[in-house]
């Protein structure tokens, strides 16, 4: 039942954009049909995923796949868990698109958007339910290519084309690595099926090979710190609801792939968990530090995705260490943190991107320092964005706190377990605390500069609230954040099922989450805190007799202007200079001199260290060194066909029995 519903959902979402292709550009029905199909498909998919989660029974069908043996698709708890954000964001994003990217305003790109949106959602759903390498790759490529066309939707803008191309290169390096991974898998296990490997079936070096290939391919997609370089550009240049699904869901496919491969390999060595933990800490810390240096609202949110992927990886690393050292508690807490943060991040990050989209929609700019005071004209968006901001900082009583609390608790448990090397793992806790403090700094900066104070430009002054089609999905996501934060107990059976699915028939599969983490007390305290805050707030409103409303005092200055406000750049300046050794901010100010100085200005900018300092200069260097190779590259299809023919002939030449020929010649 669960699988049937998901297949129906997959078909619905895959074809959702196609009917619109037959309609004219002016017709508004292409979008309406696409959204209706998408919503129907998402609803079916969510019901299917829900059934799969609450009755965690592996249902599978197999069908013949030419030349590759039987292909297999099936839903287990891990698949169902990742299907929920896919279908949820697929549906909500398409509804959001009704207001954000209406066919009437974007007749040229609208239809393309719907086709590839459907392709993206269907590709991800296929990838998650496939239990066979070829079907997995098929879904992976459908997702990767659809995402490319969505990122470069506005291809008349050069920066958009550039971001799309960088993304395409990165994703294809990942795909190439995946080819390597699955060839390796086939060679080691004897089939393309993704089935658990028996104990001691593989040697350690083969397992290491598989792990490192998987780590490279999947962390490229997930945007782990040193190889995150495609991510900020792509998320910034795509339309906001596309950024939302890219950041909220597509990145998670990297996490899914990693979890799937790790769940199949038995007896992981401790180096894997340690490496994941270190990568997570690096991504988490530097992701948020880079976010602090940004001036572009969506680019800032994109760097926060790097940070949150880091937190997810820290949880995963802890769980893997737990498997290596046989501590079921670490596995349960680490995985619970990792999995719950996957959901949480897809909810609050999509919410924040939707909010950013509303801001862009209302003011036409993404530059934080050109906004300000939007809480008055856009009260709904401001309130929803605030919910997202508090949640992403991991503050109680919202959902981000719960998942970070699991990871913290795992670290502390690891440290206090007697007779282990857990003390080293414990260092993760202060790092996570620092990430949290930096995230608070970053989101206070964003929220203060964008929504509070007064409007810095006329664009921000004439902002308007987003239409209901955009507010509705935001409201839904904010409610989801609040519900998970206030009643995490509801999710503990789901998390237990997925953890059991991940850890196989080990001790960790029998340990329930509620037995290691007091979720009920956390719920009670969170609700109590919320009630207390609301009561006190009401009390202050009631007893606060407002005697006078006037200008902000501003130390007695009588005529403050909006340009005198503290800007986002000044707000982050102390932290940016503290981390200038990695951020390397550039910019400067013109000196003011003389009695009648000329108008002066200053600017600062934080580049992406990996892309702008390593990859682009490195590739330019390579390009120059390989200048001689140009003579082979003349753009003539016939020539390229010739190269292919020559290569094939060369490969065929390995069939020539040289040994025998030499033996024959020497014998003569």
């Amino acid at each position: 039942m669960s699988l049937n519903l998901i297949i129906v959902a997959l078909l619905f979402t895959a074809v959702s954009g196609l009917p619109g292709l037959m309609l004219s550009r002016a017709s508004l029905w292409s979008q309406r049909i696409a959204v209706a199909c998408m919503c129907l498909g998402s609803l079916a998919g969510l019901i299917g995923a829900g059934l799969g989660l609450y009755n965690p029974m592996t249902t599978a069908v197999s069908f013949p796949w030419p030349a590759m043996g039987d292909s297999l698709i099936g839903v287990d708890a891990l698949s169902a868990f990742f299907l929920v954000p896919i279908f949820l964001m697929g549906g909500l994003g398409s509804i959001y698109g009704l207001g954000y990217w209406p066919q009437r305003r974007y007749p040229r790109t609208g239809k393309r958007l719907h086709v590839f949106w459907g392709g993206l959602v269907a590709g991800m759903a296929l990838l998650v339910i496939s239990k066979h390498a070829i079907a997995f790759l098929f879904g992976w490529e459908a997702m990767a290519l659809s995402a490319f066309f969505l990122v470069s939707l506005e291809d008349h803008r050069p920066e958009c084309r550039k971001a799309g191309l960088i993304y395409l290169m990165a994703t294809h390096i990942g795909t190439l690595t995946l080819f390597g991974l699955f060839v390796c898998w086939r060679w080691a296990t004897g089939s393309y099926g993704l089935h658990p490997v028996a104990n001691d079936a593989l040697s350690l070096s083969v397992m290491n090979g598989i792990f490192f290939l998987a780590l490279l391919a999947f962390s490229l997609k997930a945007g782990v710190m040193p190889i995150h370089f495609w991510l900020p550009g792509a998320h910034t240049q795509a339309p906001s609801h596309v950024s939302a699904i890219l950041s909220g869901v597509v990145l998670k496919m990297g996490i899914y792939g990693l979890l799937r491969i790790l769940s199949l390999l038995p007896n992981p060595p401790a180096t894997w968990g340690g490496l994941l933990l270190v990568l997570g800490a690096v991504s988490g810390l530097f992701g948020v530090v880079f976010a602090l240096g940004q001036h572009d609202l969506k680019r800032l949110l994109a760097y926060h995705s790097v940070e949150n992927i880091g937190i997810i990886l820290m949880g995963m690393g802890l769980a893997m260490l737990g498997r290596s050292f046989n501590h079921p508690e670490w596995v349960v807490l680490g995985m619970a943190g990792c999995l719950l943060h996957v959901w949480n991040h897809s909810f609050f990050k999509s919410l924040l991107f939707f909010g950013a989209g509303s801001v862009v929609h209302a003011t036409g700019t993404r530059q934080i320092d050109r906004l300000g005071g939007l809480a008055k004209p856009m009260p709904w968006t401001a309130a929803m964005f605030l919910v997202g901001a508090v949640a992403i900082c991991g503050l109680p009583p919202l959902n981000g706190f719960i998942s970070e609390w699991f990871v913290f608790l795992g670290f502390l448990r690891a440290g206090t377990t007697i007779g282990t090397s857990g003390s080293a793992v414990m260092i993760g806790a202060p790092i996570l605390a620092m990430i949290g403090a930096l995230a608070v700094a970053c989101f206070v900066k964003v929220y203060g500069a964008v929504f509070l104070g007064t409007a810095r430009t006329s664009g921000a002054a004439h902002a308007h609230e987003a239409p209901f089609s955009m507010r509705g999905p935001m409201l839904f996501l904010a409610a989801a954040c609040a519900v998970i934060g206030l009643a995490p107990v509801l999710l503990s059976p789901i998390l237990d099922a997925v953890i059991a699915n991940f850890s196989g028939a080990t001790e960790a599969s029998r340990l329930s989450l509620t037995s290691v983490a007091p979720l009920k007390i956390i719920s009670a305290i969170s609700i109590w805190l919320l009630v207390c805050i609301l009561a006190l707030w009401l009390f202050l409103y009631l007893i606060g007799r407002v005697r006078h409303r006037g200008l902000t005092w501003d130390c007695g200055y009588a005529q403050p202007t909006s340009r005198m406000q503290y800007t986002a750049s000044s707000f982050a300046q102390m932290i940016v200079s503290m981390f200038s050794w990695i951020l390397r901010p550039r910019g400067g100010q013109q000196q003011v001199s003389g009695a009648f100085p000329k108008p002066a200005g200053m600017h600062t900018h934080v580049d992406d260290v990996v892309l702008d300092r390593v990859i682009v200069p490195g590739f330019h260097d390579l390009e120059q060194r390989f200048g001689w190779f140009r003579r082979f590259q003349q753009g003539l299809t016939q020539n390229y066909m010739l190269y292919i023919l020559i290569t094939v002939i060369l490969m065929l030449s390995t069939l020539i029995p040289f040994k025998e020929i030499f033996a024959f010649l020497i014998a003569r």
Partner: protein
């Protein structure tokens, strides 16, 4: 079960007295008579009865700031044990909630400051969040040491741990942590040498400049909440500085009150003999606290 009401009473009533003691100490050290001991209470009552002046720039966030700050600090106060007694709320992992409650308070205090659109308040908010990036990991290192030492993840057990090891060499990491925590306390409660609560130059303030536009009951709530924060963090620190027990509940409560007042006197003396640091040197002090707590951790797990 008499403990919980006493805990609540002390938590809600005692904090302004700490401010009074600090101010009195400073006045005596400067050769003045100073304001009465109970002056902070009079100030609070007066503020609660006053009207408000509100900037036209502000939104509901401006009112939410004080409300959230006070609620979170009270909740944090219920999570820590006072003296030898158990905390009213204790569960596995409450130390994380304790630290993150201060994060929530910081988010909304600084957001309320930015809500006024004043450059001065923006400056204070920026300093507050920047310094927290250093003091938060320091606090966590300190909590790690206590958790590792006691083998427990509830604040009550963690903070009662030092009693057992106090006079032995095993307490060495705790000494480092105590110094680190004391610096964190001074930074978080905005005392000299990090911030001067009595300064008159807005450009150099941290906490006071963020609340320039709050008046009447809002200001009263903020001042009360900062007194509570001082009380809560002092109570945590006392477990490390003075882990003495008499064994009798009738003596232990007065002993605790005496200890916390003595700590207030120490803070007052410190404020009298020190000047505040230059703003650019504050991060070095906090990095020092981070290093102290981190060294304590390393000493423990070596």
């Amino acid at each position: 079960m008499i403990e919980t009401p006493i805990h609540l009473l002390l938590l809600l009533l005692l904090p302004p007295l700490l401010l009074g003691v600090i101010n009195k100490t400073k006045a005596l050290a400067a050769g003045r008579i100073g304001a009465p001991w109970l002056q902070p209470y009079y100030d609070l009552i007066k503020l609660m009865r006053k009207g408000l002046v509100v900037s036209t720039t502000t939104t509901w966030v401006f009112f939410a700031g004080p409300a959230i700050t006070l609620s979170t600090v009270i909740l944090a106060g219920l999570l820590i044990p006072l003296g030898p007694f158990n905390a009213p709320i204790a569960f596995t992992g409450d130390l994380i909630l304790f630290a993150y409650l201060f994060g929530l308070a910081r988010f909304f205090t600084t957001a309320a400051a930015l809500d006024t659109g004043s450059a001065f308040e923006g400056m204070g908010a920026a300093r507050e969040v920047t310094f927290a990036c250093l003091s938060e990991p320091a606090l966590f290192f300190a909590l790690l040491v206590l958790a590792k030492k006691s083998g427990s993840l509830t604040l009550t057990n963690m903070l009662h741990g030092p009693v057992a090891v106090f006079p032995s060499p095993a307490a060495a990491p705790l000494v480092l942590v105590a110094i680190g925590l004391f610096i964190v306390l001074l930074a978080e409660t905005c005392r000299i040498p990090v911030d001067d609560p009595n300064t008159h130059l807005e450009l150099t303030m941290i906490h006071e400049v963020m609340v320039l536009d709050h008046s009447g009951p809002l200001l009263g709530v903020i001042q009360y909440a900062s007194a509570l924060k001082l009380f809560v963090l002092s109570a945590v620190l006392l477990h490390l500085l003075a882990p003495f027990r008499t064994g009798s509940a009738w003596l232990d409560w007065p002993l605790f009150v005496g200890e916390i007042l003595a700590l207030a006197i120490v803070i007052g003396i410190l404020e009298s003999i020190m000047a505040r640091l230059q703003m650019k040197r504050v991060p070095y002090l906090l990095t020092g606290a981070l290093l102290l707590c981190g060294s304590g951790f390393i000493l423990l797990v070596r």
